[in-house]
């Protein structure tokens, strides 16, 4: 068998592509490119398989996908003059010019003047097939088209099929602009960091880096023959507990000349307990701190020193958990969990606004076709993935990413739709983990209201994205499914006596139980009417008889719901109490869980293990999000901050100031009890002010909206100073 191809065929194809490709704007900056999502999947495998437990490999239990191993890249160029082009590829490759193969593995070719199609095909099993092409105008960038299968079948005369069956996507890229540093060489940045104290006991060292940190320990002046055992601790207790600490390194040393040695697997710790055999010695230990460089944008400062520290430690917690991807905790899982990542996305929009960290994480979580399980095997985590796309578009306005992602969204929602029960609701089937929260006696049986709310929001997200991808009938279908489901949710779960959504329905019978989950999401999803909102606030949110939330994970949403109901005063106290409580115990980053009733080292235990708890967990950093969105009060109204609102709420503070990042720059806000100052480099904003007197602004109209609420329309690039009375 032989697929017959000749040049005449290539030219037919060429003509087709000319129509498709030449519209793209040539960016003229060469960068390494690949099939979109493939680098992210490859890198996420690499990262997630770095988890160890006491030196043992501990990979995820869910499916890990591979990149496509054979990729076709092409672009059509129209050159004014002949151009010499440099070519690099990661993998075995060939190069075609106008459909004709160039012999061997060319590193430089000359493309004549005129319209030409340049095509590279790359195979790589171990790494992601990727290319780097650089000429004067011919460069590799995301305007190139890529595919993993070529369906240009031809007949025996060499005539191409009338209609192409090949799906082309725009190439994926990031910041690999150096031809010598292809994607497989990716590493996070490092910088030296030094111990704040080292305690020597005989031949052993207990090194304290002063705060939670992450990186590679470096042993200085190491020499001798024997064992060097390193026990890591997020707490001193853990580092000293050589039998139960979560991570360690056991090294065999054999060097006669003293020198420095770097541990090859980065870890999370504050303390390192270094135990050396008698024949082994070191002078000291330091480390290479390992981090993702992101912009320093979101800021917050207020009249409350404790709150400021909470914000700073939240920021540091986010810095530590924002890595190759948004991960849960830096000590233990180091995996990408969709529910945890979703909160990181939200915090990120008020901190670094690092969009690429969101898209990398979104692509890695989604993986490849076919969908064979929920994301991380958890039903709610599938839905958070959709919510993440919803918010990503809202905050960034990045239509291109959403459009390219849309087919992968469709197959994931199809998986969900195929698993609905006879009532059109999602219920845990074999293999579905209905997680919700770590909480005692939380029923996962039957149709759980919380899951239906997330499912409904996912369908709304599908409708939104179908519009962006010009899938008109899809948009209508999803919109109708979402509306129908919302109706069903209220029919099935709203209880007029309890004035709340109940927890679940089992075998068609409404359960008696009310939990916070569906009710708090119903608030910030805006699914309740005003009367229901107020009822839910009293009957659930502020009702101590309803089972309390103990994880920072769900506390995030609980406090958000309260803020959305205008309870900033109450929430501020809760923040100072809960997060302040961790600070009082010496936290240098925020924890996976905090229970004020516990004492001493009890705080470090979890999952039945003495040091099982993560002391640096992304979901512990939620004050970042709450301060930005509900105190500084900034949020986009339409995609990418084309329009946005600012409603500063002091919540009991004397003053606060800060900046909130947007795609077009940072919005600056200052607010005291009698003055608000705002400047914004983007879009059209509406500043909402609660004031006992009509606010005064020199350069903008102040419009009264009744009930002491006033609005000022904000224009791009202007500075506003408003006098008001709280």
């Amino acid at each position: 068998m032989k697929k017959y191809r000749n040049i005449s065929k290539a030219f037919l194809v060429f003509c087709l592509f000319s129509l498709l490709s030449t519209g793209s704007f040539a960016q003229n900056k060469a960068t390494w490119i690949w099939y979109p999502g493939d680098f992210e999947i490859w890198l996420s495998n690499d990262m997630q398989n770095r988890r160890t437990e006491r030196g043992t490999f501990f990979p995820p239990f869910w499916r890990q996908d591979s990149h496509y191993v054979l990729i076709d890249f092409h672009k059509v160029f129209d050159l004014k003059e002949a151009e010499e082009v440099e070519i690099r590829a990661e993998g075995q490759y060939n190069v075609k010019l106008d459909g004709k193969m160039i012999s061997g593995y060319p590193k430089k070719i000359t493309i004549p003047a005129g319209k030409h199609k340049l095509n590279l095909k790359v195979h790589n099993q171990q790494q992601v097939p990727s290319i780097y092409v650089k000429g004067k105008t011919v460069v590799s960038d995301s305007s190139w088209l890529v595919t993993f299968e070529d369906k240009e079948w031809i007949d025996e005369t060499g005539k191409a099929s009338d209609q192409s069956g090949t799906t082309w996507l725009q190439a994926g890229s990031w910041n690999f602009d150096n031809s010598e540093l292809p994607p497989s060489t990716f590493k996070l940045n490092t910088r030296p960091q030094y111990a704040v104290s080292t305690k020597k006991t005989g031949n052993n060292l207990l090194v304290d880096f002063g705060k939670e940190t992450f990186g590679f320990v470096k042993l200085h002046g190491l020499k001798g023959k024997g064992k060097a055992n390193l026990y890591y601790g997020e707490s001193k207790e853990e580092a000293l507990a050589t039998e139960t600490c979560e991570t360690m390194d056991n090294l065999d040393i054999n060097r006669s000349v003293a020198g420095d040695s770097l541990i090859n697997l980065s870890k999370a710790f504050r303390f390192v307990n270094i135990q050396l055999d008698p024949g082994v010695s070191i002078d000291s230990a330091s480390m290479l701190y390992e981090y993702l460089p992101v912009a320093d944008r979101g800021k917050f400062k207020s009249s409350d020193a404790q709150l400021n520290k909470i914000w700073d430690i939240s920021k540091y917690t986010m810095e530590l958990t924002t890595r190759e991807f948004f991960i849960d905790g830096i000590k233990r899982d180091r995996w990408i969990w969709s529910g945890d990542a979703y909160q990181s996305y939200l915090m990120n929009y008020y901190l670094a606004f690092d969009s690429r960290s969101v898209t990398r994480t979104t692509l890695a979580l989604r993986g490849k076709e076919p969908v064979s399980s929920h994301i991380n095997t958890i039903m709610d985590y599938t839905f958070y993935w959709f919510l993440g796309v919803h918010d990503y578009y809202k905050y960034t306005g990045d239509k291109e990413f959403v459009t390219q992602l849309y087919p992968r969204m469709k197959s994931l929602i199809d998986y969900c739709l195929s698993r609905r029960n006879a009532n059109g609701m999602m219920e845990g089937l074999a293999g579905d983990w209905v997680f919700i929260d770590w909480a005692e006696k939380l029923s996962k049986q039957g149709e759980v209201s919380f899951e239906q709310l997330l499912f409904c929001r996912s369908l709304e997200t599908m409708a939104l994205c179908a519009d962006l991808a010009d899938d008109t009938s899809g948009a209508a279908d999803y919109r109708k499914m979402a509306a129908d489901l919302k109706t069903k949710i209220f029919a099935a779960y709203w209880n007029d006596d309890k004035k709340a959504l109940v927890h679940s329905r089992v075998n068609g019978v409404q359960s008696d139980n009310v939990t916070r989950y569906a009710n708090m999401f119903g608030i910030f999803f805006d699914y309740f009417n005003e009367e229901q909102k107020q009822q839910v606030k009293q009957s659930v949110l502020l009702n101590d008889k309803v089972q309390k939330i103990v994880t920072p994970y769900m506390r995030f949403y609980e406090l958000e719901a309260l803020c959305a109901m205008g309870e900033q005063d109450y929430v501020l106290k809760e923040i100072k109490d809960y997060w302040g409580g961790m600070l009082d115990l010496g936290a240098t980053s925020f924890w996976e869980e905090y229970n004020p009733d516990k004492k001493g080292a009890e705080h470090y235990a979890m999952y039945g293990r003495e040091f099982g708890k993560s002391l640096c967990h992304a979901w512990g950093a939620s004050p970042i999000y709450l301060m930005g969105k509900y105190y500084l009060g900034v949020q986009p109204l339409t995609a990418g901050y084309e329009t946005y609102s600012i409603q500063p709420v002091l919540g009991g503070l004397k003053w606060m100031e800060g900046s909130v990042p947007t795609p077009g720059g940072d919005i600056q806000i200052y607010c005291s009890t009698n003055e608000i100052r705002v400047s914004s480099p983007v879009g059209t904003g509406v500043l909402k002010i609660k004031s006992r007197t009509k606010p005064v602004c020199k350069n903008a109209a102040v419009v009264s909206k009744g009930n002491g609420l006033y609005e000022v329309t904000l224009k791009k690039g202007q500075n506003y100073k408003i006098a008001y009375k709280l």
Copy 2:
């Protein structure tokens, strides 16, 4: 986030698996194991990417899949006494005993007496995750269970879900029984082979190996500095045509001491033209012949020396194309094409009966989920894949393979079913290559009858395999779909005037054209009634006005249809003429195409290239199949030769003898015009004899079936000698 697992959970899971796994028979021979199909996919990528065209990398255009990169292996053992177990893995791995991780990367563990679950998890991106476990009774073999995703979700108390969502398959394996030689080290065998003549002209050598061969050229006594260029030729003309030969090597030599050098990429050739720069010299060239070792089972010898040579050269052609997989031709594509492979399967059942070559090829062709195109992008090639499974079961009776494959069959047929048109027929959509045959002016438009016949047979195959996989409702569905389609086929294509199936229907209109394709398949699929069969034989098969077939590919089926109609005399003449024609031209293996009208080097051209034709192409070897099935006349009646028939037909020969392999041994046959001798080590056979007088057999009853046909029932292990009169 953290998936909570403790030992109590592990024991719950353990109990579940105890039920599932301990029924397996312990084979007690350790072998490397992997996720079924993954080694095959990995190896096929490796092999198919070895294609070069004049030194340039030339990979397939269809999607190449990857193995799963993270695999979970387990088995439950019940040990009478404690056992020390050796553990090897390809990749990063961990080991769990009864759900508890064993620290580090253990190479030896001790399993205590009693019931225990041993679990390994392996990650490997570059190679296939695989393991080798060897103790006294605890060994890795295909009774282990494997998965690529673990869906044993648990609640916060550590309780496992009531029903597992994880799909477990039995591990894949082959013959990697040596712990030191894991699957990634796979190489075909080699043995030295020497030139029959070498012609030196100045510094250059023209080496002739005497016949078509495949392997690595070895340069002896190589020294000097400069270029050594090797031009390969299946013909002398090709080796001498340095500008147009299909394969070549350009080496940079720089060695002061003379030594041997082996070319690192194996190639197909008979002649090698070695051109050396003035500063470079060699003493001689030999080669390492590269081959898959398979059993020497099928045999054929007759009173006709030319036919014997045809059979021998067919056998050698099959030997050369039976490699890591069944490939098309050894010079050019070296890819796995489903239509070509299907013919190799059939020949293989009458030659080496190497079942593993069939299953390897079947798994490699199928690839991974999701199905995004037809196999090799060709609609007919998808259907041949199903036919291959059908025949594999018929010849081998290997139910386990079919049962494990069934989900992959289902998803492939679902792809087809989803692409039916409003009439329930398959029509080429964008991206579907409707191939049929290389033939002039062959219409692929509309509903092609040939495709519907193959589709119908594929549905019948699905019904058969659904039964094997205990999918009762699936079996009924597929059976009904097949029956409905068969009815539609005759309604749409049978033309009473033409006494044949017409070629196609376009926009609801029956075409005027009759081609051989659907008609010859209709014969050996047994879709015609007896009257139609005879009509088709006259109006199509023996009708010169119907467009002739020129490829050995379709000639295979044409001659089979004629044999199935009892035209062995005619077919024998055709074979001697066509294949004998190639021998007369000096063929040492059979060609991709043969046109007796061409002269000299014209025979080597194809696809518009001077040496484009493959002179060793699997589909050229069909006499192997025809002789075994229609002359020696052996075929299974029920799966795996539980029952079978033998109907020797001399077709004009004075005598013939041979052996036909079966799963239980070789059936031996001798047949002259007055004597038949048969012995069979398997099943229950029925020997059918056409005789002018009633045959005489000492140890079996001869039953007359009328019309000069007699039958003898054959028992396993008996020798039969029958006197008869042709």
